[in-house]
């Protein structure tokens, strides 16, 4: 498959996920939390997936052809994060800024989410050739290692949002640790 077709297929697949997610939430008892939580989770899945591209191509060099999908994956991770944040602002708090501030203040887990989202914004905004050329590729690469703190904080945000330690965040955190160790051990 040519790369453009691959990218289109991934775009469509993730659009289907988004539509399905909205549909599920509308059908459920609590649209607001369901959509908020599902979009947050999908953002994490896609961020983790985007980190898998390098190790996978190291193991199977032939799969290098899929590398262009990393950008699509990352951008959709940001899109789901936007849905997550917008649901919180509009549906959950109905633009009650004072109420949101009350919720945020003194709440480490929300701060982690906010900082992570701010970093993701930088990454999404600089995910083009122009940004790669702006201060040279090395600088761009350095900026994009921000994915690690961003994802680490987002996972902390997810973990701390639970009442009890649950298996899902633990599993995602384990995957992240494996990827981190791999990077530290084997990356250039």
């Amino acid at each position: 498959m040519p790369q453009a077709a691959l990218r289109l297929a991934l775009h469509l697949a993730l659009l289907v996920v988004l539509v399905w997610m909205v549909q599920e939430a509308v059908a459920g008892a609590d649209l607001v939390t369901e959509l908020r939580d599902a979009s947050g989770r999908w953002s994490l899945y896609l961020l983790l997936l985007s980190l898998c591209f390098t190790p996978v191509t190291r193991l199977r060099p032939a799969w290098r052809v899929y590398i262009p999908l990393r950008r699509v994956t990352g951008l959709w991770a940001f899109a789901f994060a936007c849905v997550h944040v917008l649901v919180w602002i509009s549906l959950e708090f109905a633009f009650d800024w004072r109420g949101m501030w009350q919720e945020i203040v003194g709440n480490l887990f929300i701060w982690l989410g906010i900082i992570s989202f701010a970093l993701l914004k930088v990454l999404a905004a600089s995910s083009n050739r122009k940004a790669q050329r702006w201060r040279g590729y090395q600088y761009w690469r350095f900026i994009h290692t921000l994915i690690y703190p961003a994802l680490g904080m987002a996972l902390g945000h997810y973990f701390m949002a639970q009442k009890l330690p649950e298996w899902q965040p633990m599993l995602l955190i384990s995957v992240f640790i494996v990827l981190l160790v791999w990077r530290w051990r084997y990356a250039d």
Partner: protein
């Protein structure tokens, strides 16, 4: 339920009484009182048109009850799974009939075992529309049917060592797929004064329908001024005891949950604000009220309202 047909109040009479009760409460203008007693037993409630009675209770309280399908599909019942939908989606494995509740403990001079029909037969079924506030900062309005907890306790003849009431949920791996999440049965507790308060109920129904597995069938605690985790579900034991019971969430996460768990918008949860709440089925949030709006009725139970212990 074994009820002779002669005991069933004709619908006409029932509704007339309802109207009189609603009128009575309205004209007395008692603030925030939600008692709309159906003087007869549960058969009347089952035979009457639910919506009609709810509407009249509604006029008396000014609260709009959450829709039944929402109440029945958005639940925290960890014994049936951790998500909000797991309890209603789980197979119906809970055997709620026959069901007996053991009432005892060192504080009870007249311990005994009752089945649900006994409890219904001995005490009046009351209908109360209460606010429901979860510690997770969401809320509903629920039209409960149940008996006054005080009457059930009184029947057990409490003695001087009855300082607290301990509630125990069924713990059965056959009937509950996640029975062991807390390593034992779900435990809750109240002080004697809280348990004897007229707002405290042992609920057996919602909207004049029996409780579902996911809402704590067949009998559960209702204490509307406290956070929802206090409302022990599917109760099999009630003990009158001398020592403060160590309730499940207190044991699970003592940094975040305690014994009293009274609703207070001014005392935040360690991880979120309790100042406002999300109303399930609506967008946006509303202000949370001190004691969930029942301060006039219950504030006197707590000598120091600045004591963090009572709100955690």
């Amino acid at each position: 339920m074994r009820i002779k047909s002669s005991e069933i109040t004709p619908e006409q009479v029932f509704r007339q009484r309802r109207r009189m009760i609603a009128l009575g409460i309205g004209s007395l203008a008692i603030p925030a009182v939600h008692y709309a007693f159906a003087a007869d037993n549960s058969a009347a409630d089952v035979s009457a048109m639910p919506q009609a009675s709810i509407d009249q209770d509604n006029q008396a309280t000014g609260l709009t009850p959450t829709k039944l399908d929402i109440i029945n599909s958005y639940n925290n019942y960890y014994e049936f799974g951790f998500s909000k939908t797991a309890p209603s989606e789980a197979p119906k494995t809970l055997i709620t009939s026959p069901w007996s509740v053991q009432i005892g403990g060192e504080g009870a001079d007249n311990p005994g075992t009752y089945d649900i029909a006994d409890i219904h037969g001995e005490h009046d079924i009351e209908n109360h529309i209460y606010r429901f506030r979860c510690v997770e900062a969401w809320s509903m309005v629920i039209p409960w049917n149940g008996v006054a907890l005080a009457k059930v306790i009184q029947a057990a003849k409490p003695n001087s060592s009855a300082k607290y009431v301990r509630f125990e949920t069924l713990h059965d791996e056959q009937q509950m797929p996640n029975a062991n999440w807390a390593g034992g049965p779900y435990i809750e507790g109240l002080t004697m004064a809280e348990a004897m308060h007229p707002l405290s109920l042992l609920a057996t129904g919602i909207y004049d329908q029996p409780l579902e597995q996911q809402t704590g069938a067949p009998i559960r605690l209702v204490v509307p001024w406290k956070y929802g985790f206090k409302y022990a579900k599917s109760i099999v034991r009630i003990d009158l005891v001398e020592e403060m019971p160590r309730n499940t969430w207190w044991r699970q996460n003592p940094r975040e949950y305690g014994f009293y768990a009274n609703v207070n918008p001014a005392f935040d949860h360690p991880r979120w604000s309790q100042a406002t709440e999300r109303v399930i089925g609506k967008f946006g949030r509303q202000d949370t009220l001190l004691f969930n709006g029942y301060a006039d009725e219950v504030a006197h139970l707590y000598p120091d309202l600045h004591d963090r212990r009572y709100f955690f």
